[in-house]
């Protein structure tokens, strides 16, 4: 039985297992139908031209974790931003770990999707926001919706500034020979509210994992949201991340995606504007090698006047790794005075590494500022010789150049400890110990 059949036949059993109200049942049923019709995407689809899931889908994934697993904090401490105090929503093999988590209902809600979906007091929020911005046509998003049950639920009421960052971490223990998890997160940030969120998926051994995650983020008027995705997983982990962001007027949302690990990583990042004076930031650093594959598929839908979007993606590709950057900017006719910027710079460190870059600008308004730039280059040999001639060994010189190359993105991280962490991960990735943080 292939994975699609397995998922379809598991659907009824799943719905019996979880406590479901009629509305949710309808949403899920619609979703599973869409997935049944469309199936897993293939390279025949334009949006998946450069990313094949075929090999990954051959694994015999367990679609429900069989048992709850415990992890001690010491085992996984390094994956947390432990230098500072944070709220934590932690999952082990798809199941909530109350032991490792630090949730709250005081002044803001940082808790579980499973309780938000089932408890009456959250019904209004769920009715208003759940599966509203997520693309109902997209098959993997539908698949997630069909099985949506667990994940993080974050609700920041108006005028509230979250007092500490929130970490959402999903661990896979390798308890199953191969595991598929489908976390579903919902983030609602009220008028004038602010929050910082860090999301991470981490396998703790080399059994294959397929994560198909969906996150919906609603930023209300003048809200401020910084979202950081750390993708530094083991080489047998695969991630399909679908993030949908709806912004109301004067809101400010940034998403930073750090893609350093994993086998296949696909980031579908979608911004929708629903008001004026919106600011959207999409930044990413990809550093991969071997046979790793990272695909960034972004969409910014400028649907209102006077909004800005800033995209800056940097990629460093070694070995026979492959990268994809597909950045779509859609400017509707009404969206005059749009300022949309897109930059994608890539360095290929090996003859076998590949990058497919495709900026897509569809502009229907006539008074807009849209620019995009894409570069693909090799390491600057003159710069290498210059640094070496000052006594900096080749390896360190290379690392210094890579650091400098990534710096624009690292620099805009607004949590110092996270910035240090990312610097360290990059140093480890480049195999050097730098004497300073850039």
């Amino acid at each position: 039985m292939d994975l699609k059949e397995k998922l379809l036949s598991s659907f009824m059993a799943f719905e019996e297992r979880v406590d479901v109200n009629a509305d949710l049942h309808n949403i899920r049923t619609e979703a599973i139908k869409n997935f049944e019709n469309k199936g897993f995407p293939t390279k025949k689809e334009e949006a998946w031209k450069y990313t094949s899931l075929n090999a990954v889908l051959k694994n015999d994934f367990s679609v429900f974790p069989k048992q709850e697993n415990a992890l001690s904090y010491a085992e996984v401490k390094k994956y947390f931003l432990h230098e500072i105090d944070t709220y934590k929503v932690v999952f082990i093999d798809g199941i909530f770990s109350s032991f490792l988590s630090s949730t709250t209902h005081e002044g803001l809600d940082v808790c579980l999707m499973s309780s938000a979906l089932t408890k009456p007091k959250y019904k209004e929020v769920i009715d208003t926001y759940f599966n509203k911005i997520a693309n109902k046509d997209e098959s993997l998003t539908s698949l997630n919706t069909a099985f949506a049950h667990e994940g993080a639920f974050i609700n920041i009421p108006k005028n509230k500034i979250a007092d500490k960052p929130i970490e959402i971490i999903s661990f896979s223990t390798g308890n199953e020979a191969a595991l598929m998890v489908q976390p579903r997160n919902l983030v609602v940030v009220g008028k004038n509210a602010q929050v910082q969120i860090i999301e991470r998926h981490q396998s703790l051994n080399s059994n294959p994992v397929l994560t198909n995650a969906v996150t919906e983020i609603y930023a209300h008027e003048n809200a401020n949201v910084d979202y950081y995705k750390i993708q530094n997983d083991v080489l047998t982990a695969n991630l399909i991340d679908n993030t949908y962001i709806s912004q109301k007027r004067d809101s400010n949302v940034s998403v930073h995606t750090f893609s350093f690990g994993g086998n296949i990583t696909r980031n579908n990042l979608n911004f929708y504007h629903e008001g004026e004076n919106i600011d959207s930031t999409l930044k990413g650093i990809t550093i991969i090698s071997g046979k790793q594959h990272v695909d960034h598929y972004t969409l910014v839908n400028h649907a209102q006047p006077n909004c800005e979007s800033h995209q800056n993606y940097k990629g460093i590709f070694d070995g026979s790794s492959t990268g994809v950057f597909n950045g779509k900017i859609y400017v509707e006719k009404i969206a005059q005075k749009t300022d949309a910027f897109q930059q994608n710079n890539n360095v290929l460190l090996s003859d076998k590494a590949t990058i497919n870059a495709k900026p897509q600008l569809e502009i229907f308004a006539d008074d807009v500022k849209c620019s995009h730039g894409c570069t693909i280059g090799q390491l600057d040999e003159d710069a290498m010789f210059y640094m070496q001639s000052r006594g900096i060994p080749q390896k360190e010189a290379k690392a210094l150049l890579m650091y400098a190359f990534s710096n624009e993105v690292i620099d805009s991280i607004r949590i110092t400890e996270l910035k240090n962490r990312i610097n360290k991960i990059i140093a480890t990735k480049l195999g050097v110990n730098m004497g300073f943080d850039l």
Binding site: Y386, S389, R390, G391, I392, P393, F405, E408, G435, L438
Partner: protein
């Protein structure tokens, strides 16, 4: 200090250096002059170890050791410094961080501990004053948006920080106005000692008014065709390079 014997070097099978012989002793300043395309910059790059050039014959000996096979950084650790004609811009790396990395990598290679931060700061302050460099300048990205003069001053600042045994100044005077030239030359002169040596590569005699050489060599068509004292530079200035070309 430096002994170059019968050095031949090619780039993409085209021979540029055709048998260079040069002896530089500690405490000396040598000027290498010559018309464009004579091989001056190739010679400096080959001494510093640029990989684009293939040394086909001969040897480069620094303090008794053949350094011809060493990587550029290993030559730097042994005390070779090249001031670039066209310093490379490195966005995202500040002058200060670059120098910290360079100094600590050299120390690491010699088995020394990293330089303590306060000592590093003191050294940076001292050397930047020597080159009349504004402190704000040091936190800027290396060479990015620097004027021609700033780039050259920054090269000599790095030389001052690294204290090389053998400094090669490749066309350091190009792009400098008279004030910048004076500051740069003054910096170099203060760094001169009986234990180090300087090779000044230049097209014009102008710089040699400030950094006075003990010997002047004329490079033409990949060979040193004439050597003499500092008066040779004046003679060249007066007669022009056609004089050399007609003799060879």
């Amino acid at each position: 200090m430096l002994s170059i014997k019968n050095l031949h070097a090619s780039v993409e099978d085209k021979e540029i250096l055709k048998g260079i012989n040069l002896e530089v002793k500690a405490g000396e300043v040598h000027a290498i002059m010559g018309p464009n395309g004579s091989g001056k910059s190739t010679l400096s790059s080959v001494i510093a170890g640029k990989e684009d050039y293939e040394v086909t014959d001969g040897e480069i000996v620094l303090e008794g050791e053949d350094i011809g096979e060493l990587a550029p950084e290993e030559r730097a650790h042994k005390g070779v410094f090249l001031s670039f004609q066209y310093p490379v811009e490195i966005p995202g790396v500040s002058v200060t961080n670059f120098m910290k990395t360079a100094i600590n990598e050299s120390r690491k290679a010699k088995g020394l501990e990293e330089m303590p931060a306060n000592e590093m700061l003191k050294l940076i302050r001292e050397k930047s004053e020597l080159l009349e460099i504004d402190r704000k300048f040091l936190s800027r990205s290396l060479n990015e948006g620097f004027s021609g003069g700033e780039k050259k001053r920054n090269e000599i600042f790095q030389m001052a920080m690294l204290e090389p045994k053998l400094a090669i100044l490749d066309e350091t005077d190009s792009g400098l106005d008279i004030d910048a030239l004076r500051i740069v030359a003054n910096g170099v002169n203060k760094l001169r000692s009986k234990d180090n040596a300087v090779i000044v590569i230049t097209h014009y005699q102008r710089l040699l008014d400030y950094i006075v050489p003990d010997y002047v060599h004329v490079l033409y068509n990949g060979k040193i065709v004439k050597s003499g004292g500092k008066e040779l530079a004046y003679e060249l200035e007066e007669k022009g390079y056609d004089w050399i070309k007609s003799e060879n």
